[in-house]
Protein backbone atom coordinates (compact mmCIF):
# COMPACT_ATOMS: atom_id res chain seq x y z
CA UNK A 1 0.00 0.00 0.00
CA UNK A 2 2.91 2.28 0.52
CA UNK A 3 5.11 1.55 -2.47
CA UNK A 4 3.97 4.62 -4.37
CA UNK A 5 7.00 5.16 -6.56
CA UNK A 6 6.43 2.28 -8.98
CA UNK A 7 5.31 3.41 -12.38
CA UNK A 8 2.95 1.31 -14.48
CA UNK A 9 5.57 0.50 -17.10
CA UNK A 10 7.91 -1.29 -14.73
CA UNK A 11 5.21 -3.45 -13.13
CA UNK A 12 5.07 -7.20 -13.66
CA UNK A 13 1.96 -8.63 -15.38
CA UNK A 14 -0.44 -9.40 -12.51
CA UNK A 15 0.41 -6.17 -10.69
CA UNK A 16 -0.22 -4.21 -13.86
CA UNK A 17 -3.63 -5.89 -14.20
CA UNK A 18 -4.45 -4.92 -10.61
CA UNK A 19 -3.28 -1.37 -11.27
CA UNK A 20 -5.58 -1.10 -14.28
CA UNK A 21 -8.59 -2.60 -12.48
CA UNK A 22 -8.10 -0.19 -9.59
CA UNK A 23 -8.05 2.77 -11.96
CA UNK A 24 -11.10 1.61 -13.88
CA UNK A 25 -13.12 1.02 -10.69
CA UNK A 26 -12.16 4.30 -9.06
CA UNK A 27 -12.79 6.34 -12.21
CA UNK A 28 -16.15 4.61 -12.79
CA UNK A 29 -17.00 5.36 -9.16
CA UNK A 30 -16.15 9.02 -9.71
CA UNK A 31 -18.37 9.10 -12.80
CA UNK A 32 -21.28 7.62 -10.79
CA UNK A 33 -20.64 10.12 -7.99
CA UNK A 34 -20.58 13.03 -10.42
CA UNK A 35 -23.52 11.91 -12.52
CA UNK A 36 -26.27 13.39 -10.25
CA UNK A 37 -24.73 16.85 -10.79
CA UNK A 38 -24.61 16.36 -14.53
CA UNK A 39 -28.19 15.07 -14.57
CA UNK A 40 -29.33 18.10 -12.55
CA UNK A 41 -27.76 20.42 -15.12
CA UNK A 42 -29.19 18.49 -18.10
CA UNK A 43 -32.68 18.42 -16.60
CA UNK A 44 -32.56 22.16 -15.88
CA UNK A 45 -32.08 22.95 -19.60
CA UNK A 46 -34.62 20.41 -20.88
CA UNK A 47 -37.89 22.36 -20.98
CA UNK A 48 -41.19 20.57 -20.46
CA UNK A 49 -39.77 17.68 -18.47
CA UNK A 50 -42.86 16.64 -16.63
CA UNK A 51 -44.87 13.75 -15.43
CA UNK A 52 -43.99 11.28 -18.15
CA UNK A 53 -40.83 12.36 -19.94
CA UNK A 54 -37.36 11.31 -18.90
CA UNK A 55 -34.97 13.89 -20.38
CA UNK A 56 -32.49 12.77 -23.00
CA UNK A 57 -28.81 12.64 -22.05
CA UNK A 58 -28.29 15.25 -24.77
CA UNK A 59 -31.30 17.62 -24.69
CA UNK A 60 -32.88 18.15 -28.13
CA UNK A 61 -34.05 21.71 -27.53
CA UNK A 62 -31.89 23.05 -24.74
CA UNK A 63 -33.35 26.20 -23.24
CA UNK A 64 -32.92 28.44 -20.24
CA UNK A 65 -36.67 28.88 -19.77
CA UNK A 66 -36.60 27.18 -16.38
CA UNK A 67 -34.11 29.79 -15.15
CA UNK A 68 -36.34 32.49 -16.59
CA UNK A 69 -39.25 31.11 -14.56
CA UNK A 70 -37.12 31.21 -11.42
CA UNK A 71 -36.06 34.81 -11.81
CA UNK A 72 -39.23 36.31 -13.32
CA UNK A 73 -42.19 34.41 -11.87
CA UNK A 74 -40.48 33.75 -8.54
CA UNK A 75 -38.44 36.13 -6.33
CA UNK A 76 -35.28 34.10 -6.83
CA UNK A 77 -32.96 37.07 -7.25
CA UNK A 78 -34.09 38.26 -3.83
CA UNK A 79 -33.72 34.75 -2.41
CA UNK A 80 -30.13 34.43 -3.66
CA UNK A 81 -29.42 37.89 -2.26
CA UNK A 82 -30.82 36.87 1.13
CA UNK A 83 -28.67 33.75 1.21
CA UNK A 84 -25.56 35.73 0.27
CA UNK A 85 -26.22 38.44 2.83
CA UNK A 86 -26.76 35.98 5.68
CA UNK A 87 -23.75 33.86 4.69
CA UNK A 88 -21.39 36.84 4.47
CA UNK A 89 -22.48 38.34 7.79
CA UNK A 90 -22.36 34.96 9.56
CA UNK A 91 -18.87 34.34 8.21
CA UNK A 92 -17.47 37.73 9.20
CA UNK A 93 -18.99 37.60 12.68
CA UNK A 94 -17.82 34.03 13.29
CA UNK A 95 -14.29 35.00 12.26
CA UNK A 96 -14.33 37.76 14.88
CA UNK A 97 -15.97 35.80 17.72
CA UNK A 98 -13.94 32.64 17.08
CA UNK A 99 -10.54 34.30 16.76
CA UNK A 100 -10.96 36.46 19.89
CA UNK A 101 -12.19 33.51 21.99
CA UNK A 102 -9.44 31.28 20.60
CA UNK A 103 -6.83 33.91 21.54
CA UNK A 104 -8.18 34.06 25.09
CA UNK A 105 -8.09 30.26 25.48
CA UNK A 106 -4.61 30.01 23.99
CA UNK A 107 -2.82 33.08 25.35
CA UNK A 108 -4.71 34.57 28.29
CA UNK A 109 -4.60 32.19 31.27
CA UNK A 110 -7.29 32.92 33.84
CA UNK A 111 -8.87 31.06 36.72
CA UNK A 112 -11.54 28.62 35.50
CA UNK A 113 -10.36 28.78 31.89
CA UNK A 114 -10.52 24.99 31.63
CA UNK A 115 -14.12 24.88 32.79
CA UNK A 116 -15.19 27.73 30.52
CA UNK A 117 -13.54 26.02 27.57
CA UNK A 118 -15.34 22.73 28.38
CA UNK A 119 -18.66 24.56 28.48
CA UNK A 120 -17.86 26.10 25.09
CA UNK A 121 -17.09 22.67 23.64
CA UNK A 122 -20.19 21.14 25.20
CA UNK A 123 -22.36 23.53 23.19
CA UNK A 124 -21.16 21.64 20.10
CA UNK A 125 -23.02 18.60 21.41
CA UNK A 126 -26.33 20.41 21.79
CA UNK A 127 -28.45 19.75 18.72
CA UNK A 128 -30.21 22.77 17.26
CA UNK A 129 -33.48 20.84 17.46
CA UNK A 130 -33.42 20.98 21.26
CA UNK A 131 -33.27 24.76 21.06
CA UNK A 132 -35.94 25.32 18.44
CA UNK A 133 -38.91 26.00 20.72
CA UNK A 134 -37.20 28.27 23.27
CA UNK A 135 -35.26 30.11 20.54
CA UNK A 136 -38.47 30.67 18.64
CA UNK A 137 -40.14 32.06 21.78
CA UNK A 138 -37.08 34.15 22.68
CA UNK A 139 -36.89 35.82 19.28
CA UNK A 140 -40.66 36.28 19.22
CA UNK A 141 -40.38 38.13 22.54
CA UNK A 142 -37.69 40.41 21.10
CA UNK A 143 -39.85 40.93 17.99
CA UNK A 144 -37.16 39.37 15.80
CA UNK A 145 -39.20 36.72 13.99
CA UNK A 146 -39.16 37.31 10.26
CA UNK A 147 -36.04 39.47 10.42
CA UNK A 148 -32.53 38.91 9.13
CA UNK A 149 -31.20 39.58 12.63
CA UNK A 150 -33.38 36.80 14.03
CA UNK A 151 -31.95 34.35 11.52
CA UNK A 152 -28.41 35.55 12.23
CA UNK A 153 -28.15 35.83 16.03
CA UNK A 154 -27.98 32.09 16.85
CA UNK A 155 -25.17 31.63 14.30
CA UNK A 156 -22.86 34.28 15.74
CA UNK A 157 -20.68 32.02 17.89
CA UNK A 158 -19.35 28.68 16.72
CA UNK A 159 -17.71 26.23 19.12
CA UNK A 160 -16.25 24.42 16.12
CA UNK A 161 -14.61 27.63 14.88
CA UNK A 162 -13.21 28.45 18.31
CA UNK A 163 -11.76 24.95 18.63
CA UNK A 164 -10.25 25.08 15.14
CA UNK A 165 -8.61 28.49 15.65
CA UNK A 166 -7.39 27.66 19.16
CA UNK A 167 -5.51 24.68 17.71
CA UNK A 168 -3.97 26.98 15.12
CA UNK A 169 -2.99 29.67 17.63
CA UNK A 170 -1.38 27.03 19.86
CA UNK A 171 0.95 26.30 16.92
CA UNK A 172 2.17 29.91 16.71
CA UNK A 173 5.54 30.11 18.57
CA UNK A 174 5.21 32.01 21.83
CA UNK A 175 8.60 33.62 21.21
CA UNK A 176 6.85 35.87 18.69
CA UNK A 177 4.49 37.17 21.40
CA UNK A 178 7.34 37.63 23.83
CA UNK A 179 9.39 39.61 21.35
CA UNK A 180 6.39 41.85 20.68
CA UNK A 181 5.76 42.28 24.40
CA UNK A 182 9.36 43.46 24.84
CA UNK A 183 8.67 46.01 22.12
CA UNK A 184 5.79 47.25 24.26
CA UNK A 185 2.88 45.64 22.43
CA UNK A 186 -0.28 44.81 24.37
CA UNK A 187 -2.59 41.85 23.82
CA UNK A 188 -4.78 43.57 21.25
CA UNK A 189 -1.76 44.51 19.19
CA UNK A 190 -0.22 41.01 19.44
CA UNK A 191 -3.56 39.52 18.43
CA UNK A 192 -3.91 41.83 15.45
CA UNK A 193 -0.36 42.01 14.12
CA UNK A 194 1.17 38.67 15.15
CA UNK A 195 -1.48 36.02 15.72
CA UNK A 196 -3.98 36.75 12.95
CA UNK A 197 -1.42 36.90 10.10
CA UNK A 198 0.07 33.62 11.33
CA UNK A 199 -3.15 31.62 11.30
CA UNK A 200 -4.35 32.56 7.81
CA UNK A 201 -4.85 28.94 6.63
CA UNK A 202 -7.09 28.17 9.62
CA UNK A 203 -9.00 31.42 9.04
CA UNK A 204 -9.51 30.33 5.42
CA UNK A 205 -10.83 26.95 6.56
CA UNK A 206 -13.25 28.60 8.98
CA UNK A 207 -14.36 31.06 6.29
CA UNK A 208 -15.35 28.20 4.00
CA UNK A 209 -17.09 26.22 6.74
CA UNK A 210 -18.97 29.22 8.13
CA UNK A 211 -20.11 30.28 4.67
CA UNK A 212 -21.09 26.72 3.77
CA UNK A 213 -22.93 26.22 7.06
CA UNK A 214 -24.98 29.36 6.54
CA UNK A 215 -25.56 28.87 2.81
CA UNK A 216 -26.85 25.33 3.35
CA UNK A 217 -28.64 25.77 6.68
CA UNK A 218 -32.28 24.86 6.67
CA UNK A 219 -34.07 24.20 9.96
CA UNK A 220 -33.50 27.52 11.75
CA UNK A 221 -34.18 29.77 8.72
CA UNK A 222 -37.28 27.65 8.04
CA UNK A 223 -38.56 28.39 11.52
CA UNK A 224 -37.68 32.08 11.74
CA UNK A 225 -38.09 33.41 8.19
CA UNK A 226 -41.75 33.01 7.28
CA UNK A 227 -42.39 35.57 4.53
CA UNK A 228 -41.34 34.67 0.96
CA UNK A 229 -39.24 37.85 0.48
CA UNK A 230 -36.98 36.88 3.37
CA UNK A 231 -36.48 33.23 2.48
CA UNK A 232 -33.09 31.72 1.79
CA UNK A 233 -32.25 29.29 -1.01
CA UNK A 234 -32.79 25.98 0.80
CA UNK A 235 -36.24 27.07 2.01
CA UNK A 236 -37.24 28.49 -1.36
CA UNK A 237 -36.11 25.22 -2.98
CA UNK A 238 -38.12 23.13 -0.54
CA UNK A 239 -41.25 25.17 -1.23
CA UNK A 240 -40.57 25.14 -4.98
CA UNK A 241 -41.07 21.43 -4.76
CA UNK A 242 -44.59 21.89 -3.44
CA UNK A 243 -45.42 24.53 -6.06
CA UNK A 244 -43.90 22.96 -9.16
CA UNK A 245 -44.41 19.31 -8.26
CA UNK A 246 -43.89 17.91 -11.72
CA UNK A 247 -41.87 20.67 -13.39
CA UNK A 248 -38.52 19.09 -12.69
CA UNK A 249 -36.67 21.46 -15.01
CA UNK A 250 -37.59 24.37 -12.71
CA UNK A 251 -36.73 22.47 -9.53
CA UNK A 252 -33.38 21.37 -10.97
CA UNK A 253 -32.63 24.90 -12.20
CA UNK A 254 -33.14 26.09 -8.61
CA UNK A 255 -30.74 23.39 -7.45
CA UNK A 256 -28.12 24.51 -9.97
CA UNK A 257 -28.46 28.11 -8.72
CA UNK A 258 -27.90 26.85 -5.18
CA UNK A 259 -24.92 24.63 -6.05
CA UNK A 260 -22.93 27.05 -8.25
CA UNK A 261 -21.68 29.53 -5.62
CA UNK A 262 -20.63 26.71 -3.27
CA UNK A 263 -18.94 24.99 -6.19
CA UNK A 264 -16.99 28.15 -7.00
CA UNK A 265 -15.96 28.59 -3.39
CA UNK A 266 -15.00 24.92 -3.18
CA UNK A 267 -12.83 24.96 -6.29
CA UNK A 268 -11.16 28.11 -5.02
CA UNK A 269 -10.55 26.83 -1.49
CA UNK A 270 -10.49 23.04 -1.92
CA UNK A 271 -7.18 22.73 -0.13
CA UNK A 272 -8.49 24.42 3.02
CA UNK A 273 -11.79 22.54 3.05
CA UNK A 274 -10.12 19.15 2.82
CA UNK A 275 -7.40 20.13 5.30
CA UNK A 276 -10.06 21.31 7.72
CA UNK A 277 -12.01 18.06 7.51
CA UNK A 278 -8.87 15.94 7.62
CA UNK A 279 -7.43 17.70 10.66
CA UNK A 280 -10.71 17.38 12.56
CA UNK A 281 -10.34 13.60 12.40
CA UNK A 282 -6.86 13.44 13.87
CA UNK A 283 -6.58 13.93 17.59
Amino acid sequence: MADTALSARRMPGPRLAGWIVLHVVIVLGAVVMFFPFLWTLITSISPGVGLTVTPALWPENPSLSAYETLFTELPFARVVGNSLLLAVITTVVQLVTSSTAAYAFSRLPFRGAGIVFSVYLATMMIPLQVLIVPLFVELKTFGLLNTYLGALLPTFASAFGIFLLRQAINQVPRELDEAATLDGAGHFRIFWTIILPNIRPALATLTVFAFMGSWNSFLWPLVVLRTPELQTLPIALASLQGQYTTEWDVIMAGSVVSILPMLALYIFAQKYVIQGVASSGIK
Binding site: M1, A2, H23, V25, I26, V27, M33, T40, T43, V49, T52, V96, S98, S99, T100, A101, L108, F110, Y120, T123, M125, I126, P127, L128, Q129, V130, L131, I132, V133, P134, L135, F136, E138, L153, A157, A159, G184, G186, H187, F188, R189, W192, N216, F218, L233, L237, A238, Q241, I251, M252, S255, M262, L263, L265, Q270, I274, V277, S280, G281, I282
Partner: protein, 314 residues
Protein backbone atom coordinates in the same frame (compact mmCIF):
# COMPACT_ATOMS: atom_id res chain seq x y z
CA UNK B 1 -14.95 45.97 17.38
CA UNK B 2 -11.61 44.29 17.76
CA UNK B 3 -10.26 46.78 15.25
CA UNK B 4 -11.18 49.81 17.36
CA UNK B 5 -9.82 48.09 20.46
CA UNK B 6 -6.57 47.44 18.70
CA UNK B 7 -6.42 51.09 17.67
CA UNK B 8 -7.00 52.42 21.18
CA UNK B 9 -4.32 50.13 22.51
CA UNK B 10 -1.98 51.44 19.83
CA UNK B 11 -2.73 54.98 20.98
CA UNK B 12 -1.97 53.93 24.55
CA UNK B 13 1.40 52.63 23.54
CA UNK B 14 2.37 55.85 21.80
CA UNK B 15 2.36 57.54 25.22
CA UNK B 16 5.11 55.61 27.00
CA UNK B 17 5.04 57.73 30.14
CA UNK B 18 1.64 56.39 31.15
CA UNK B 19 0.37 56.87 34.70
CA UNK B 20 2.12 54.58 37.19
CA UNK B 21 0.10 51.42 37.79
CA UNK B 22 -0.48 49.57 41.02
CA UNK B 23 -0.68 45.77 41.06
CA UNK B 24 -4.44 46.02 41.61
CA UNK B 25 -5.11 48.18 38.58
CA UNK B 26 -2.89 45.98 36.43
CA UNK B 27 -4.90 42.96 37.55
CA UNK B 28 -8.15 44.71 36.75
CA UNK B 29 -6.81 45.72 33.38
CA UNK B 30 -5.89 42.10 32.64
CA UNK B 31 -9.35 40.92 33.69
CA UNK B 32 -10.88 43.50 31.35
CA UNK B 33 -8.65 42.26 28.52
CA UNK B 34 -9.77 38.67 29.08
CA UNK B 35 -13.39 39.81 29.11
CA UNK B 36 -12.94 41.81 25.94
CA UNK B 37 -11.65 38.72 24.14
CA UNK B 38 -14.28 36.36 25.54
CA UNK B 39 -17.49 38.38 25.51
CA UNK B 40 -18.04 38.45 21.72
CA UNK B 41 -18.46 34.66 21.80
CA UNK B 42 -19.73 34.19 25.37
CA UNK B 43 -22.75 36.47 24.95
CA UNK B 44 -24.23 34.71 21.89
CA UNK B 45 -23.47 31.27 23.32
CA UNK B 46 -25.17 32.14 26.60
CA UNK B 47 -28.17 33.85 24.99
CA UNK B 48 -28.78 31.54 22.05
CA UNK B 49 -27.48 28.12 23.13
CA UNK B 50 -27.09 27.64 26.89
CA UNK B 51 -30.08 29.78 27.92
CA UNK B 52 -32.51 28.13 25.47
CA UNK B 53 -31.14 24.73 26.52
CA UNK B 54 -32.25 25.35 30.11
CA UNK B 55 -35.49 26.98 28.93
CA UNK B 56 -36.30 23.86 26.88
CA UNK B 57 -36.14 21.81 30.07
CA UNK B 58 -38.54 24.26 31.75
CA UNK B 59 -40.95 24.24 28.79
CA UNK B 60 -40.87 20.43 28.70
CA UNK B 61 -42.55 20.43 32.13
CA UNK B 62 -45.54 22.37 30.80
CA UNK B 63 -48.46 21.97 28.49
CA UNK B 64 -48.25 24.80 26.02
CA UNK B 65 -49.29 25.61 22.45
CA UNK B 66 -46.96 28.66 22.11
CA UNK B 67 -49.97 31.01 22.41
CA UNK B 68 -52.03 30.45 25.56
CA UNK B 69 -50.69 30.47 29.13
CA UNK B 70 -48.36 27.65 30.12
CA UNK B 71 -49.78 24.96 32.40
CA UNK B 72 -47.39 23.07 34.65
CA UNK B 73 -47.73 19.31 34.19
CA UNK B 74 -44.53 18.06 35.84
CA UNK B 75 -43.22 14.99 34.05
CA UNK B 76 -46.56 14.53 32.27
CA UNK B 77 -45.11 15.19 28.81
CA UNK B 78 -42.38 12.63 29.33
CA UNK B 79 -44.89 10.04 30.55
CA UNK B 80 -47.16 10.78 27.57
CA UNK B 81 -44.22 10.41 25.18
CA UNK B 82 -43.07 7.11 26.64
CA UNK B 83 -46.61 5.75 26.39
CA UNK B 84 -47.09 6.94 22.80
CA UNK B 85 -46.34 4.22 20.21
CA UNK B 86 -45.41 7.01 17.78
CA UNK B 87 -42.35 7.81 19.91
CA UNK B 88 -41.05 4.26 19.61
CA UNK B 89 -41.77 4.35 15.89
CA UNK B 90 -39.79 7.54 15.22
CA UNK B 91 -36.81 6.25 17.23
CA UNK B 92 -36.98 2.97 15.30
CA UNK B 93 -37.03 4.81 11.96
CA UNK B 94 -34.03 6.86 13.09
CA UNK B 95 -32.16 3.69 14.07
CA UNK B 96 -33.08 2.15 10.72
CA UNK B 97 -31.55 5.19 9.04
CA UNK B 98 -28.32 4.90 11.05
CA UNK B 99 -28.10 1.12 10.53
CA UNK B 100 -28.30 1.58 6.77
CA UNK B 101 -26.24 4.73 6.48
CA UNK B 102 -23.24 4.05 8.72
CA UNK B 103 -22.04 0.74 7.14
CA UNK B 104 -22.48 2.23 3.66
CA UNK B 105 -20.41 5.34 4.28
CA UNK B 106 -17.82 3.58 6.42
CA UNK B 107 -17.11 0.63 4.13
CA UNK B 108 -17.43 2.80 1.01
CA UNK B 109 -15.30 5.58 2.50
CA UNK B 110 -12.65 3.08 3.63
CA UNK B 111 -12.47 1.41 0.22
CA UNK B 112 -12.10 4.81 -1.47
CA UNK B 113 -9.49 5.97 1.03
CA UNK B 114 -7.46 2.77 0.53
CA UNK B 115 -7.66 3.15 -3.25
CA UNK B 116 -6.72 6.84 -3.17
CA UNK B 117 -3.83 6.11 -0.82
CA UNK B 118 -2.02 4.23 -3.61
CA UNK B 119 -0.06 5.44 -6.61
CA UNK B 120 -3.14 6.60 -8.45
CA UNK B 121 -3.05 8.94 -11.40
CA UNK B 122 -5.08 12.13 -10.89
CA UNK B 123 -5.51 11.41 -7.19
CA UNK B 124 -6.39 14.88 -5.97
CA UNK B 125 -8.78 15.45 -8.87
CA UNK B 126 -10.63 12.22 -8.06
CA UNK B 127 -10.67 13.11 -4.38
CA UNK B 128 -12.18 16.46 -5.35
CA UNK B 129 -14.98 14.75 -7.31
CA UNK B 130 -15.82 12.35 -4.49
CA UNK B 131 -15.87 15.23 -2.03
CA UNK B 132 -18.12 17.49 -4.12
CA UNK B 133 -21.48 16.29 -2.68
CA UNK B 134 -20.24 17.21 0.82
CA UNK B 135 -20.44 20.94 0.05
CA UNK B 136 -23.93 20.61 -1.43
CA UNK B 137 -26.90 21.40 0.81
CA UNK B 138 -29.12 18.62 2.14
CA UNK B 139 -32.12 20.18 0.45
CA UNK B 140 -30.49 20.09 -2.97
CA UNK B 141 -29.32 16.51 -2.33
CA UNK B 142 -32.88 15.53 -1.42
CA UNK B 143 -34.40 17.21 -4.49
CA UNK B 144 -31.84 15.77 -6.88
CA UNK B 145 -32.36 12.27 -5.51
CA UNK B 146 -36.13 12.63 -5.58
CA UNK B 147 -35.67 13.26 -9.27
CA UNK B 148 -33.12 10.48 -9.87
CA UNK B 149 -35.32 8.03 -7.97
CA UNK B 150 -38.59 9.26 -9.46
CA UNK B 151 -40.68 6.10 -9.91
CA UNK B 152 -42.30 7.11 -13.21
CA UNK B 153 -39.63 8.98 -15.16
CA UNK B 154 -36.49 9.01 -13.04
CA UNK B 155 -33.22 7.95 -14.61
CA UNK B 156 -32.54 5.12 -12.15
CA UNK B 157 -35.75 3.27 -12.95
CA UNK B 158 -35.24 4.02 -16.65
CA UNK B 159 -31.83 2.34 -16.52
CA UNK B 160 -33.24 -0.57 -14.52
CA UNK B 161 -36.06 -0.97 -17.05
CA UNK B 162 -33.51 -1.02 -19.88
CA UNK B 163 -31.92 -4.12 -18.35
CA UNK B 164 -35.31 -5.70 -17.70
CA UNK B 165 -35.78 -4.87 -14.01
CA UNK B 166 -39.00 -3.29 -12.77
CA UNK B 167 -37.74 -0.55 -10.41
CA UNK B 168 -39.41 0.02 -7.04
CA UNK B 169 -41.55 3.04 -6.08
CA UNK B 170 -38.61 4.47 -4.08
CA UNK B 171 -39.73 7.43 -1.94
CA UNK B 172 -43.40 6.94 -2.84
CA UNK B 173 -43.42 3.41 -1.40
CA UNK B 174 -43.48 3.01 2.42
CA UNK B 175 -41.05 0.08 2.21
CA UNK B 176 -38.59 1.96 -0.01
CA UNK B 177 -38.83 5.48 1.49
CA UNK B 178 -36.09 5.01 4.09
CA UNK B 179 -33.71 3.16 1.72
CA UNK B 180 -34.09 6.11 -0.69
CA UNK B 181 -33.13 8.57 2.07
CA UNK B 182 -30.20 6.36 3.09
CA UNK B 183 -28.91 6.17 -0.48
CA UNK B 184 -29.04 9.95 -0.94
CA UNK B 185 -27.38 10.58 2.44
CA UNK B 186 -24.59 8.08 1.81
CA UNK B 187 -23.90 9.74 -1.54
CA UNK B 188 -23.55 13.10 0.17
CA UNK B 189 -21.34 11.98 3.07
CA UNK B 190 -19.11 9.40 1.41
CA UNK B 191 -16.45 11.99 0.53
CA UNK B 192 -16.41 13.34 4.08
CA UNK B 193 -15.69 9.92 5.57
CA UNK B 194 -13.16 9.24 2.83
CA UNK B 195 -11.14 12.39 3.61
CA UNK B 196 -11.04 11.65 7.34
CA UNK B 197 -9.93 8.05 6.78
CA UNK B 198 -7.43 9.11 4.13
CA UNK B 199 -5.81 11.50 6.60
CA UNK B 200 -5.65 8.64 9.10
CA UNK B 201 -4.09 6.30 6.53
CA UNK B 202 -1.45 8.82 5.60
CA UNK B 203 -0.38 9.04 9.23
CA UNK B 204 0.51 5.32 9.28
CA UNK B 205 4.24 4.70 8.85
CA UNK B 206 5.18 2.80 5.64
CA UNK B 207 7.82 0.92 7.69
CA UNK B 208 5.06 -1.08 9.36
CA UNK B 209 3.84 -2.36 5.99
CA UNK B 210 7.37 -3.28 4.96
CA UNK B 211 7.82 -5.20 8.21
CA UNK B 212 4.50 -6.99 7.69
CA UNK B 213 5.51 -7.89 4.13
CA UNK B 214 8.81 -9.30 5.33
CA UNK B 215 6.78 -11.45 7.74
CA UNK B 216 4.85 -12.73 4.72
CA UNK B 217 1.53 -11.00 5.45
CA UNK B 218 -0.75 -10.70 2.40
CA UNK B 219 -2.96 -7.74 1.51
CA UNK B 220 -5.96 -8.78 3.64
CA UNK B 221 -3.75 -9.73 6.54
CA UNK B 222 -2.07 -6.33 6.40
CA UNK B 223 -5.49 -4.64 6.23
CA UNK B 224 -6.76 -6.36 9.38
CA UNK B 225 -3.50 -6.48 11.37
CA UNK B 226 -1.90 -3.15 10.49
CA UNK B 227 -4.26 -0.75 8.75
CA UNK B 228 -7.50 -1.14 10.71
CA UNK B 229 -5.93 -1.13 14.21
CA UNK B 230 -3.85 1.95 13.40
CA UNK B 231 -6.81 3.62 11.73
CA UNK B 232 -8.99 3.14 14.80
CA UNK B 233 -8.79 6.78 16.04
CA UNK B 234 -10.17 7.99 12.68
CA UNK B 235 -12.77 5.21 12.67
CA UNK B 236 -13.80 6.22 16.18
CA UNK B 237 -14.20 9.83 15.08
CA UNK B 238 -16.34 8.79 12.09
CA UNK B 239 -18.59 6.64 14.30
CA UNK B 240 -19.07 9.34 16.94
CA UNK B 241 -19.86 12.06 14.41
CA UNK B 242 -22.10 9.76 12.34
CA UNK B 243 -24.15 8.70 15.36
CA UNK B 244 -24.54 12.27 16.61
CA UNK B 245 -25.59 13.47 13.15
CA UNK B 246 -27.62 10.33 12.46
CA UNK B 247 -29.87 10.81 15.47
CA UNK B 248 -30.44 14.41 14.38
CA UNK B 249 -31.28 13.55 10.76
CA UNK B 250 -33.93 15.94 9.45
CA UNK B 251 -33.28 18.15 6.39
CA UNK B 252 -33.15 15.36 3.80
CA UNK B 253 -36.14 13.56 5.33
CA UNK B 254 -38.19 16.76 5.35
CA UNK B 255 -37.41 17.50 1.70
CA UNK B 256 -37.50 13.95 0.35
CA UNK B 257 -40.50 12.34 2.00
CA UNK B 258 -41.74 14.75 4.68
CA UNK B 259 -41.74 11.69 6.94
CA UNK B 260 -44.14 9.82 4.67
CA UNK B 261 -45.66 7.95 3.02
CA UNK B 262 -47.99 7.34 5.95
CA UNK B 263 -45.27 8.20 8.46
CA UNK B 264 -43.08 5.35 7.19
CA UNK B 265 -39.94 7.51 7.30
CA UNK B 266 -40.82 9.88 10.14
CA UNK B 267 -37.70 10.43 12.26
CA UNK B 268 -37.32 11.95 15.73
CA UNK B 269 -36.57 15.53 14.64
CA UNK B 270 -39.38 15.52 12.07
CA UNK B 271 -41.66 14.57 14.97
CA UNK B 272 -40.28 17.43 17.12
CA UNK B 273 -40.92 19.86 14.27
CA UNK B 274 -44.45 18.54 13.67
CA UNK B 275 -45.34 18.54 17.37
CA UNK B 276 -44.25 22.18 17.64
CA UNK B 277 -45.53 23.75 14.48
CA UNK B 278 -48.30 21.41 13.33
CA UNK B 279 -49.92 20.15 16.54
CA UNK B 280 -49.05 23.11 18.79
CA UNK B 281 -47.60 20.82 21.46
CA UNK B 282 -44.49 22.80 22.38
CA UNK B 283 -44.16 21.17 25.80
CA UNK B 284 -44.19 17.68 24.39
CA UNK B 285 -41.81 18.74 21.59
CA UNK B 286 -39.34 20.10 24.17
CA UNK B 287 -39.62 16.89 26.17
CA UNK B 288 -38.87 14.85 23.06
CA UNK B 289 -35.91 17.17 22.29
CA UNK B 290 -34.46 16.52 25.72
CA UNK B 291 -35.09 12.81 25.38
CA UNK B 292 -33.17 12.88 22.10
CA UNK B 293 -30.35 14.91 23.66
CA UNK B 294 -30.02 12.48 26.56
CA UNK B 295 -29.96 9.50 24.18
CA UNK B 296 -27.26 11.12 22.00
CA UNK B 297 -25.22 12.13 25.03
CA UNK B 298 -25.47 8.63 26.54
CA UNK B 299 -24.43 6.95 23.30
CA UNK B 300 -21.52 9.35 22.85
CA UNK B 301 -20.35 8.76 26.42
CA UNK B 302 -20.63 4.98 25.98
CA UNK B 303 -18.53 5.26 22.84
CA UNK B 304 -15.93 7.42 24.58
CA UNK B 305 -15.72 4.93 27.45
CA UNK B 306 -15.68 1.91 25.15
CA UNK B 307 -12.93 3.34 22.95
CA UNK B 308 -10.19 2.10 25.30
CA UNK B 309 -11.07 -1.44 24.26
CA UNK B 310 -10.53 -0.97 20.54
CA UNK B 311 -9.09 2.44 19.72
CA UNK B 312 -5.32 2.43 19.41
CA UNK B 313 -3.70 5.82 19.93
CA UNK B 314 -0.25 4.37 19.33
Amino acid sequence: MSLSNAQTSLLDRSRPAARPRTAGSRKRRYALTVLAFLLPSAVPLALFTLGPMVAALWISLHEWNLLSAMRFVGLGNYIDLLGDPQTGAVFLHTLYYIAGYLPLVYVGGLALALALNTALKGRSFLRGIYFLPVVTSWIVVALVWRWLLNPSNGIVNAVLAAVGIQGPGWWTDPAWAMPSIILASAWKDLGFVMVILLAGLQAISPDLYDAAKVDGAGWWRRLFSVTLPLLSPSTFFVFVISLINGFQVFDQVYAMTGGGPNGASEVVVQRIYDLTFRYGAAGEASALSWLLFVVVLAITLIQVRGQRRWVNYG
